[in-house]
């Protein structure tokens, strides 16, 4: 999500913007519009609103560029800023989400033969993520947004990695309880699996240990 050439381009563009060249900001928006809109989409599941929130994030970034201390990468700063914007936007105007218990049940055995059924159970999972309590929802959103990179998600949230792993583990346990037959449903439709898959996998055993610690505390 952040290659060195893009980082150099970002840095050069930032210097130009800070020097007063507003036009240079266009390059930044062009490079980061996709990730920021997709990140916003995962927070609200509303395309129009996702674009509005991403636009607000870019504006805040533009206002704050001079204050960026260049301690980390530009992308880390931008994602953290965007996450703050999205969080506060959703606090002001929350999305309409069903409670976890009210999310639609996964499809029954009879419906499993339709392709629609697999799609519906994925949609139900997306909705269930939005219905998670906030402290668990955001780690899930950012972990999968960052292609399952715990360090990147923790950096965006400004949390220690251990805390993020613990919350993530708890969130996955809640989702697992909610969708106890997900493996069977998806196994029935292997062709319907989503195409993109993150390159970094997080050991389930490690996460389970974090859950136990959290529960013990």
């Amino acid at each position: 999500m952040n290659d060195p050439s893009s980082a150099d381009e970002d840095l050069a563009a930032v210097e130009q913007v800070v020097a007063g060249e507003t036009r240079a900001f266009e390059g930044i928006v062009r490079r980061w519009q996709g990730p920021l809109i997709n990140m916003a989409w995962r927070y609200c599941r509303d395309r129009g609103r996702a674009e509005e929130m991403a636009q607000e994030a870019f504006l805040r970034a533009w206002r704050g560029l001079a204050k960026w201390r260049r301690e980390g990468s530009f992308s880390s700063w931008l994602f953290a800023l965007a996450a703050n914007v999205y969080r506060s936007e959703l606090k002001r105007f929350p999305t309409e989400t069903l409670p976890m218990e009210a999310a639609p049940e996964p499809s029954g055995p009879a419906a499993q033969h339709s392709e629609l059924s697999a799609q519906l159970s994925r949609e139900a999972l997306y909705r269930a993520v939005l219905a998670l309590p906030l402290r668990y929802r955001e780690p899930v959103i950012l972990f999968y947004f960052h292609e399952m990179d715990v360090a990147a998600a923790a950096s965006t949230m400004g949390l220690p990695e251990g805390t993020l792993k613990a919350r993530l583990s708890r969130a996955r346990a809640l989702l697992r309880q909610r969708f106890p037959h997900l493996d069977e449903e998806q196994a029935a439709h292997p062709s319907q699996r989503p195409r993109r898959m993150g390159h970094q996998d997080l050991g389930h055993r490690e996460i389970d240990q974090e859950t136990r610690k959290e529960v013990a505390n």
């Binding site: 997709n38 395309r47 999972l125 999968y144 697992r176 997900l182 699996r193």
Partner: protein
């Protein structure tokens, strides 16, 4: 013995099942298709950026005009504090010697009340000043 073995195998099956479900969750959530930004998105962001850039820079805080007022307010606060101490300290000492209310004369009670009102007025002035600064989004001092 067999029961223990069966228990262990049930436990293993449960763990495997959980792992499979979590793998499915991972695949679904990590494999979401990406949205493409709408064609006008870049333009609308840059329009807003240009609008903001065209705005005059924020007016700096008029320190030259404000300093006399701040000094005056500081003086009033200082004077109030001094008066409070001047009238309050003897009362406090009187209070410490005469712990029972029957030893407080009417004049002492009156003076205590006045000191209380002065303290309240000073406190509310300070609170309203801080509140107005906060509402104006001011930063810096306090």
């Amino acid at each position: 013995m067999n029961r223990a073995k069966r228990g262990r195998s049930d436990e293993c099956a449960g763990i495997n099942r959980n792992a499979r479900i979590e793998t499915e969750i991972d695949q679904i959530l990590a494999g979401e298709e990406e949205l493409m930004p709408s064609s006008g998105f870049l333009g609308s962001v840059m329009d807003r950026v240009r609008q903001e850039a065209a705005l005059p820079p924020p007016i700096p805080f008029p320190w030259k005009l404000a300093v006399p007022g701040i000094l005056l307010a500081g003086g009033v606060c200082g004077w109030g504090g001094y008066e409070l101490m001047r009238s309050g300290l003897p009362l406090m000492s009187a209070f410490s010697f005469t712990l029972t209310p029957r030893h407080l004369s009417a004049a002492t009670v009156l003076a205590l009340e006045q000191a209380g009102w002065v303290a309240l007025a000073l406190g509310s002035s300070l609170a309203s000043w801080l509140l107005s600064r906060r509402l104006a989004g001011a930063s810096g001092i306090l």
